[in-house]
């Protein structure tokens, strides 16, 4: 098809088009795409937006949109144009983004992307060319194919009980509160074309004025796919298609949404990010504290006792002491059996496996944990048991067992919630890992709520004292 009186938003010559004919489009005679392209190009010129427009070509007959429009182009995977449009518009709200899609692209394989872009109120313009058939792949059934219509994959005609019904997308989109403007138009005759031109212009104007998501469904002809000549195709469109796909405005909130859907973004500001994340700040003079022995620890108890947080406390104290430290929650078959547990490693050397199979320190806050893990503790290792919870704590030959009623002590201090801090004190005292003053300072820096600092410090001291008293 030859486009006469080209709008300047079209390239003077279609150089990206393959083959010798650089002045005509690749569309078949009587196809609606040429008309629709021209109306869009005219609107782009009138609004002065072609240089800031990004046109997304779908998969389908209009895959070659980039042959024609003098604007930026991205070609998208089948059905994904609204997602690509989202990625463009959100990264540069000043770009004018057109998602131009056919019926297979928009209403079959891309249904999810279509609905959700509309539902987010993406400030984009969607042109939906509905010609009731798959043109490019050879005339197969579209989601909008009419009941009784014969296609390459409905040789007996579309049958409701077999293929379902034609989908009315404009009506569906109009139910979504975030959609601003939804209209269905047609290109059958000049009267319809006038209305289509107006709708196209409005849908683009809305985006320029940041009024939000606009959706224009355009009933269009496919004489090749329909196996008709041009005039018959136009008649069929006007007489038959409009019965199933009524024309009109289904929703229009344009008037009171000006500017409402502009989503501001900022360019990358390295200094701002450094300040936000605390990058480049001088380290507090790292006290490299020697560790009497590497610690490979397992912490286990019921969920909610703060046992995982206890492991985290210890690891963070280690980090502040300039040590290598790792913390990892339970994994694999270990997760079964009613225990929450974690592994912690502290070392002056690089840590290999973060997983602790053979701990030299085990801290348990319930009976099943003691039974599950005590046997794994290496000879010479330490087992610390909260005897407020664990009733039966036997001796383990070759291991030191430290018994401390941590939950009871925490209760005396003020709340059972600090039982894990009592245990932290016990751990540091039992292993001699860190000086008490250092752990207290770490706790002051770690505990976020300042009114809880004293409570935590009291719990920590009681833990130290209990082990110290026990000798």
């Amino acid at each position: 098809m030859k486009i006469t009186e080209k709008p300047v938003a079209f390239y003077p010559e279609f150089v990206r088009k393959s083959g010798p004919h650089k002045e005509t489009t690749h569309y078949c005679p009587g196809c609606g795409h040429g008309n629709i392209h021209k109306m869009i190009a005219e609107a782009m010129v009138d609004l002065g937006i072609n240089e800031r427009t990004v046109f997304i070509s779908p998969v389908g007959c209009s895959v070659f949109g980039y042959y024609y429009f003098d604007c930026g182009h991205m070609q998208a995977a089948h059905g994904r144009a609204p997602a690509v449009a989202t990625g463009i518009k959100r990264a540069n709200p000043e770009a004018i983004v057109i998602s131009y899609q056919g019926d297979g692209d928009l209403a079959a394989i891309g249904t999810a992307e279509t609905l959700h872009a509309a539902n987010r109120g993406e400030n984009i313009t969607v042109f939906f060319v509905n010609n009731a058939i798959y043109g490019m792949t050879g005339g197969q059934m579209a989601p909008t194919t009419m009941i009784g219509q014969k296609t390459a994959t409905t040789p007996r005609g579309r049958i409701e009980s077999v293929h379902g019904n034609p989908i009315r997308v404009a009506e569906i989109i109009a139910t979504l509160p975030a959609a601003t403007y939804v209209e269905r138009v047609a290109i059958g005759d000049s009267k319809h074309i006038m209305k289509a031109r107006k709708a196209i212009r409005k849908a683009l104007t809305n985006q320029v004025e940041n009024r939000g998501y606009s959706f224009v469904e355009i009933l269009s002809t496919c004489p090749t796919g329909w196996k008709m000549d041009g005039p018959d195709a136009r008649d069929w469109l006007v007489e038959e298609m409009t019965k199933v796909f009524p024309l009109g405005v289904f929703k229009d909130e344009s008037d009171h949404r000006e500017g409402a859907w502009h989503r501001q973004v900022e360019p990358f500001d390295p200094a701002k990010r450094d300040a936000y994340l605390g990058a480049g700040e001088a380290e507090a003079k790292a006290e490299k504290l020697p560790l009497p022995a590497e610690l490979h620890c397992k912490f286990a108890g019921f969920g909610g006792q703060g046992i995982l947080t206890l492991g985290l406390f210890l690891a963070q104290v280690g980090m502040r002491a300039g040590l290598h430290a790792s913390w990892i929650p339970s994994y694999g078959p270990e997760m079964r059996g009613g225990t929450a547990n974690c592994s912690v490693n502290l070392s002056e050397r690089r840590i290999g496996s973060p997983l602790v199979d053979k701990p030299n320190l085990l801290v348990v806050m319930n009976q099943p944990s003691l039974e599950a893990f005590a046997g794994d503790v290496v000879q010479g290792g330490t087992i610390i048991v909260d005897t407020s919870i664990v009733e039966k704590c036997p001796e383990y030959p070759g291991r030191r067992v430290v018994r401390i009623p941590a939950t009871g002590i925490a209760d005396e201090v003020g709340t059972p919630k600090v039982a894990n801090v009592v245990l932290l004190g016990a751990i540091c005292a039992a292993t001699g890992a860190f000086p008490q003053a250092f752990v207290e300072q770490s706790l002051r820096e770690t505990v976020k709520k300042k009114d809880l600092v004293d409570l935590n410090l009291a719990a920590l001291r009681r833990g130290y004292e209990h082990v110290g008293d026990a000798g």
Partner: protein, 353 residues
Amino acid sequence: MSRKFMKGNDAIVVGALQAGCRAYYGYPITPASEIAHAASLHFPALGGTFIQAESEVAAINMVYGTAGMGIRTMTASSSPGFSLKQEGLSYIAGAELPCVVVNVSRGGPGLGNIAPEQADYFQVTKGGGHGNYRLIALAPNCAQEMCDLTVLAFDLADTYRNPVCILADGFTGQMMEPVTVPVARPVPFDHTSWCVRGDAATHRNLISSIYLESEDLERHNLKLDEKYRRIARDEVRFEEYQVEDADLIVVAFGIVSRIVYSTVDQARAQGLKVGLLRPITLWPFPSARLAELAARDVRFLSAELSTGQMVEDVRLAVEGRAPVHFYGRCGGMVPGSEELLAEYGKILEGGRS
């Protein structure tokens, strides 16, 4: 203080922010969800974009849109979700767009479970979608690397206009370790010549992977191939521990490399001369170094959380010059030190073949 104790998944977001990433698109999935949680908190706070997409498919296509503008962007998921991204990755590689995709992999096939596995190695290193393309694949093994390799990933993506994958596992994602937050630097790339920003300077550009004529598509493929050869030549990264005199070199990445690292000294204490070669880039694979090491009297063991995937690349690299063994666990099972030591002993007692 710039040294913070954080999860590997959070460290990825920190690395992305400091690398100048401006838009994150994702869909929740265990064990990668913390990445989306952190992104939803931090990106908007810094004037960036976060969208919880309707699907993994939509997320990777949103990445396509932002990447097509020459703006740094990313998505992250775990194995089943990563499968869904393959279509988009093929288009992104075909259109030569820079972006970063993270796969905190879990157990498969199918729904599998949420425990760690490394069974997405084939998918990530061989090109999981259609057509001739490669992802650059980086395999961190600690929280600091989750951050630092994310920064590197963005630089590699921009340098080669190619998607870069961080292949982590549930352990490296969930594990907490100290991380020194890197200082953010301006992004030293100007993509005006090819990107489409929706402005006058780029309005004549086209982002596409369609080449209708066979000659054109072959030329495009050969151009991509030339790029992949350059990457294979220039971007191989690996780490070695005690390989020089080793009788057995264990090849392992991610969490397994950490476990193997622990066993090397233990093995040597038992008189077994074991070393570790850890690929940091899974693609390009350190094949040349393996071939070099295979020239002497040595055995290799590929240790993986899979039923045997990377081992194929080890075999291809040594080309039959040395025996290549395999040891793997899967489904969330992880080899312990003693288990590996027993395996080393068995292989080395087996004598020279």
